[in-house]
């Protein structure tokens, strides 16, 4: 039986702008299986970020059901939601969002520390992951001393370090040049394949769309297509949009 990391049923979200309601998501139904490398594409205002925020528990849907890592997150308290984010989810933001006062290593171990992992174990894990993604030797640098690509890799390491069920990345390559963007995608794809971590991106970057093994297109808050450009990949045999 397929293990769904994410399952959305009839999800709706409307933002109020003054007295006018602006629909952001309409009747979204979506299932994401463990180990997928999925991109959500669409023009600005199509609802990509809203969808990621709702999956990540950063925003609440107006109606419908949102199941993430086996939990109906619409029914979780703020504390339980924070715990879910800490233990089962990883986030990569467009603007890197590393804490400027922490070193690369401290940023990466941030979530492990909050989970109560002992210092020695944290350092070991970060060192190992940094070696894997080409950040070895940069552990003691502050974000301001790193390039954009390096910062984003630290952000990916921070998201990966707790071995979450799902990593949500909101336009992770938007601020990177082509070569750095490709290098980052290589890192994420490698982590997806070696660790089996599920990645869901929002993007309008064709390079990301090309690398995705499943591509969902949104327009005006609705899913308009759900493609599988890399059918040969064994990791994504079981998935599908339910709407």
């Amino acid at each position: 039986m397929t293990q769904w990391v994410v399952e959305l049923r009839d999800v709706q979200k409307t933002y109020q702008t003054g007295q006018v309601g602006v629909p952001a998501l309409r009747d979204i139904g979506l299932r994401v299986a463990a180990g997928e490398f999925l991109a959500i594409a669409g023009p600005s205002g199509s609802g990509k970020t809203t969808l990621l925020n709702i999956i990540g528990g950063l925003d609440q849907a107006d109606s419908g059901e949102v199941w993430v890592a086996g939990k109906n997150i619409r029914r979780l308290s703020a504390g339980a939601l924070a715990r879910l984010r800490l233990q089962r989810l990883g986030f990569v933001f467009q603007a890197y969002n590393l804490l400027p006062v922490l070193t690369a290593l401290e940023n990466a171990e941030f979530t492990l520390l909050l989970q109560g992992v002992p210092a020695r174990r944290r350092r070991e894990k970060v060192q190992k992951l940094f070696s894997e993604i080409g950040l070895a030797g940069l552990e003691d640098r502050r974000p301001a001393q790193l390039s954009g690509g390096q910062q984003q890799r630290v952000a990916v390491a921070r998201a990966m370090i707790t071995e979450p069920a799902l990593i949500l990345a909101d336009e992770p390559t938007a601020n990177l040049d082509s070569a750095t963007a490709v290098a980052l995608l290589d890192v994420m794809e490698q982590l997806n394949q070696t660790h089996g971590t599920t990645f869901v991106f929002s993007t309008h970057d064709p390079r990301v769309m090309e690398r995705a093994r499943r591509l969902i297109r949104l327009r005006d808050g609705q899913v308009v297509s759900d493609e599988k450009p890399h059918q040969s990949d064994g990791l994504t045999r079981q998935y599908g949009a339910t709407s």
């Binding site: 925020n53 990540g56 950063l58 925003d59 703020a78 504390g79 924070a82 715990r83 984010r85 800490l86 233990q87 986030f91 933001f93 603007a95 969002n97 804490l99 400027p100 006062v101 922490l102 941030f110 979530t111 520390l113 909050l114 109560g116 002992p118 210092a119 921070r158």
Partner: protein, 430 residues
């Protein structure tokens, strides 16, 4: 624990992202503490000097006198030598002895002092010169001649204002007239006063305390001569007790009350015998605390503003922390750690500055003659022109505690704001 240390580290580093702002804020808050310490030091120093001067001028830290004397000031209310001895013996009992400075019996009466030129009503203090010299102020304020001693049995010491009025100086003869306390049988029968007695004395010393009422009306003469004049051999009005520490007064008074049960005496601490001054000091303390409180609140509002700014400008960052799984309590804790660190830096600043200035004023003193050049004769207190700052450890820890507590209270609102970081709104700032 590791989490708390990490949040504290994060708070500390965040503090130094804007080092100039942090330093200025800490300096402002520290200045508040420093001003509080300086003002408390000067006020406590002033109080200590005033209490010391007044107790050395009047009746010591604790006074034992006949029941009812405090209210009536009747010179008929006297203590026998037995009570004086019992008082001195009581003070040797138990653990009080180290706190004791000394004991001085005194006989107080009113009289009329006349010279060839003039006459004036006076307050007569019959004293034992050696004890008076050891504990009381007037022997140390002699400006002409010398104080009484055992060889000057007919000597009298008077104030400078009185000397001016009577047109006398050291060596001049004066006549002291007083109503005898011991009545003749006829006088006792109709309850009239004792007979008028007079004695010829020679001025041996003139003092100036700077307190008009003392310099004009107080005269000192040997206890034996006073007892003879008033016809009350071996009797005194009061026993003045001096202590090493003024704060021991209530303990000593309590001890004496327990020891002298059944004896018709009243035992008063200086706060009770000098009630007006004690109340004045209490009021001044209160007023200073109110002013200090207002000062700290004003500075505190500045700190609150800084902390709030720090939270609001890091709204996005707090949003990221929340998104990563930091719970509201942890977000608040992070800000409180930051605020706490700022408070500790402020306290360090305040202590260095406040104690530095206090040390200067405690050793060199604040010369009040910089501010005025007239004496304050009308002030109902002996006035020292150089004010020495005094700060007890309790005052320092109390002030630091208040500032620390205030730092914590101030951090509540910014911490609350941080805890209320709303997702995903906080992540929409950029």
């Amino acid at each position: 624990m590791a989490e708390v240390v990490f949040l504290a580290k994060l708070g500390w580093r965040n503090l130094w992202r804007h080092s100039r702002r942090t330093l200025l804020t800490a300096l402002a808050f520290g200045l508040g503490l420093a001003l509080l310490l300086i003002s408390l030091g000067l006020l406590d120093g002033d109080h200590e000097q005033r209490i010391a001067n007044r107790t050395r001028l009047v009746a010591g830290h604790v006074v034992v006198q006949a029941q009812g004397y405090q209210d009536t000031l009747s010179q008929k209310l006297l203590l026998s030598s037995r009570v004086v001895t019992a008082t001195a013996e009581s003070l040797k009992v138990g653990t009080l002895h180290p706190a004791l400075g000394g004991v001085s019996p005194r006989l107080i009466a009113s009289g009329l002092l006349s010279s060839a030129a003039n006459a004036s009503g006076v307050s007569i203090l019959g004293v034992i010169p050696e004890k008076e010299k050891a504990f009381f102020l007037i022997p140390h304020r002699i400006v002409e001649g010398s104080y009484l001693d055992d060889e000057k049995a007919t000597g009298i010491v008077i104030g400078a204002e009185l000397a001016r009025k009577l047109k006398v100086r050291v060596g001049s003869k004066v006549v002291l007239m007083a109503q005898a306390v011991r009545q003749s049988d006829a006088a006792a029968a109709n309850d009239s006063g004792g007979e008028l007695q007079s004695t010829l004395l020679r001025v041996v010393g003139i003092f100036r305390t700077g307190m008009l009422v003392v310099d004009m009306y107080v005269v000192h003469l040997p206890l034996a001569a006073t007892q003879t004049l008033l016809g009350v051999p071996n009797q005194v009005t009061q026993v003045a007790i001096f202590l090493e520490r003024e704060s021991d007064s209530p303990i000593v008074a309590r001890h004496l009350r327990s020891q002298l049960t059944g004896v018709p005496v009243e035992i008063l601490t200086w706060q009770e015998s000098l009630e007006r001054m004690a109340q004045m000091i209490w009021l001044e303390d209160l007023f200073n605390n109110v002013i200090g409180g207002i000062l700290l609140v004003m500075v505190g509002l500045g700190v609150l503003n800084t902390m709030l700014m720090a939270v609001l400008e890091r709204r996005y960052e707090l949003g990221v922390c929340a998104a990563l799984g930091l719970r509201p309590g942890q977000l608040a804790g992070m800000i409180m750690c930051e605020s706490l660190a700022l408070g500790l830096i402020s306290i360090a600043f305040g202590l260095v500055l406040g104690l530095g200035v206090h040390y200067h004023f405690a050793t060199t003193g604040l010369d009040l003659r910089w501010f005025f050049d007239t004496d304050l004769r009308a002030v109902q207190s002996v006035f020292d022109p150089i004010l020495y700052s005094r700060l007890s450890l309790a005052r320092i820890t109390g002030s630091v505690g208040i500032v620390f507590l205030m730092g914590i209270v101030i951090s509540f609102y910014p911490a609350f704001k941080a805890a209320r970081t709303e997702l995903p709104n906080a992540l929409r700032v950029l």
